[in-house]
């Protein structure tokens, strides 16, 4: 107990222990040390994301086109709403945490326990929501083509609406090969699952649907419109429409599709149907690292919650542990505020 709670009967004994530099107890000061170093870790990640984004500024995916799902609203594009909901959940769990700290100052055990419980629930809902967001991102929605040169091509109809590969792929064309499974291999050989459609099926389907066009990764703006080749004359506009990717003419689309090498469905660490692979890598890494923090925060909260129920802090006559875990929890919320801005808004 001596290491977690400092009592002030040590006046005059500066080097004798029990002293509180900066007016904060040992445990709280150490929590601040941890928070500063962790804040720098997260800023390192976010700035690295910024570096890669600036490096590929003209082709970076638009968040509005990537995160468009909302539960029970399948097929309805709803950018921002779901992540806004997640943000509110996390802010609210921060509020219940600070209410628990406040109740702790007044030594109200049952109130602390109640607010801690709400905080834990909020944290669990957030982690669950994050998992759902990951599932949608990994699964993908439309599918895309990767060319030999490594760029990603998506499909749109004559009005510029994003079209999924499954809507037009010609399945009468035979697939080039079967997936190699462990049971069919000569030795311990297998491969990861093949895309639902082969490149030939997509190319044949594209040929059968003359109204289909290709959308490239390049964001259509004043600078890129000057150098882009085969730009569709009516569907692109940077003065009136909001930020969007360049749509090609039918002739140029056919030319680009001839270079197709792979069909991509969804996103993983190697491929990303929404565009730059680095976008997916950073998304998984940063939101994953944040999600890991939320998860450990929930675990720590549960431990403190049990201690509150057991009356440990009543016996200590101080709820400072709740304050310390509260600092960590608010920090996790703080990081999310920045992740939200840099992944979804900016």
């Amino acid at each position: 107990m001596g290491s977690t709670v400092t009592t002030a009967n040590t006046v005059g004994k500066t080097w004798g222990g029990g002293n509180e530099p900066l007016g904060a107890s040992y445990g709280k000061l150490m929590m601040w040390f941890f928070i500063v170093s962790d804040a720098l870790t997260f800023s390192g990640f976010l700035v690295a994301y910024g570096f890669s984004r600036f490096k590929f500024i003209e082709t970076w995916p638009l968040a509005d086109e990537v995160f468009t799902h909302f539960p029970f609203m399948h097929g309805v594009p709803a950018p921002m709403y779901y992540v806004a909901l997640m943000t509110f959940i996390l802010i609210f769990s921060s509020v219940t945490m600070v209410l628990a700290v406040d109740a702790g100052h007044q030594m109200k055990q049952s109130k602390v326990a109640f607010y801690m419980f709400l905080t834990i629930i909020g944290g669990l809902i957030f982690v669950g929501s994050q998992a759902w967001e990951w599932k949608n991102f990994i699964h993908g929605e439309y599918g895309a083509i990767e060319t030999k040169g490594g760029s990603v091509l998506q499909f749109v109809d004559a009005s510029g609406k994003h079209i999924a590969i499954e809507e037009f792929a010609d399945t009468s064309v035979p697939k080039e090969r079967e997936q190699l499974l462990r049971g069919k291999g000569k030795w311990f050989m297998e491969e990861s699952s093949l895309p639902t459609y082969s490149v030939e099926q997509v190319q044949a389907g594209f040929k059968n649907h003359p109204d289909l066009l290709i959308r490239t990764e390049t964001i259509f703006d004043e600078a890129t419109s000057k150098t882009a080749k085969g730009v569709h004359p009516t569907l692109n506009d940077f003065t009136f429409k909001s930020k969007h990717k360049t749509i090609l003419t039918r002739a140029e689309s056919e030319k680009r599709l001839a270079d197709a090498k792979l069909v991509i469905e969804g996103a993983n660490l190697q491929r990303n149907e929404y565009g730059s692979k680095l976008f997916a890598d950073f998304f998984f890494f940063i939101t994953g690292f944040h999600g890991f923090h939320v998860f450990s925060g929930v675990i720590i909260n549960i431990i403190i919650f049990i201690n509150v129920l057991l009356g440990t802090y009543e016996k200590r006559r101080t709820y400072e542990m709740v304050e310390k875990v509260g600092l960590y929890w608010h920090f996790v919320d703080l990081v999310w505020v920045f992740v939200f801005t840099f992944f979804y808004l900016v």
Partner: protein, 116 residues
């Protein structure tokens, strides 16, 4: 320590209100993306992004000051934490974003295409 042990539930809910309103404004702007803000650039970034970043820092201030109770800590602790973090982040962001922009220029103007 200036932790006067009085309940400040009122202030907590007030801060929650502020954070909610700011987040709502961010979401509305993020969905509407007003053309005038989105397509006007200032210091290498469009005005809408500047608004988002300023609002984020505004929210961060309230989280750290009210929720993490930084306002009740001694000025020395406050400065040690806040100034260190702000200085190092600005430094890192400046260096890496400048470098990223430079690499972008190298790719764009090079005779060899990297992605086609």
């Amino acid at each position: 320590m200036s932790h006067e042990h009085v309940s400040n539930t009122k202030r907590i809910w007030l801060v929650f209100g502020i954070l909610s309103v700011v987040t709502t404004v961010e979401v509305i702007l993020g969905i509407m993306k007003p053309q005038a803000l989105h397509m006007t650039n200032m210091l290498g970034m469009n005005l809408l992004n500047w608004i988002f970043i300023i609002l984020t820092i505004f929210k961060a201030y309230y989280i750290v000051w009210a929720f993490m109770h930084m306002e009740g800590e001694t000025p020395a602790l406050r400065r040690a934490v806040v100034w260190t973090v702000i200085f190092l982040i600005l430094y890192l962001a400046f260096i890496l974003l400048t470098e990223g922009h430079y690499v972008f220029g190298v790719f764009r103007d090079a005779t060899i295409k990297w992605n086609f």
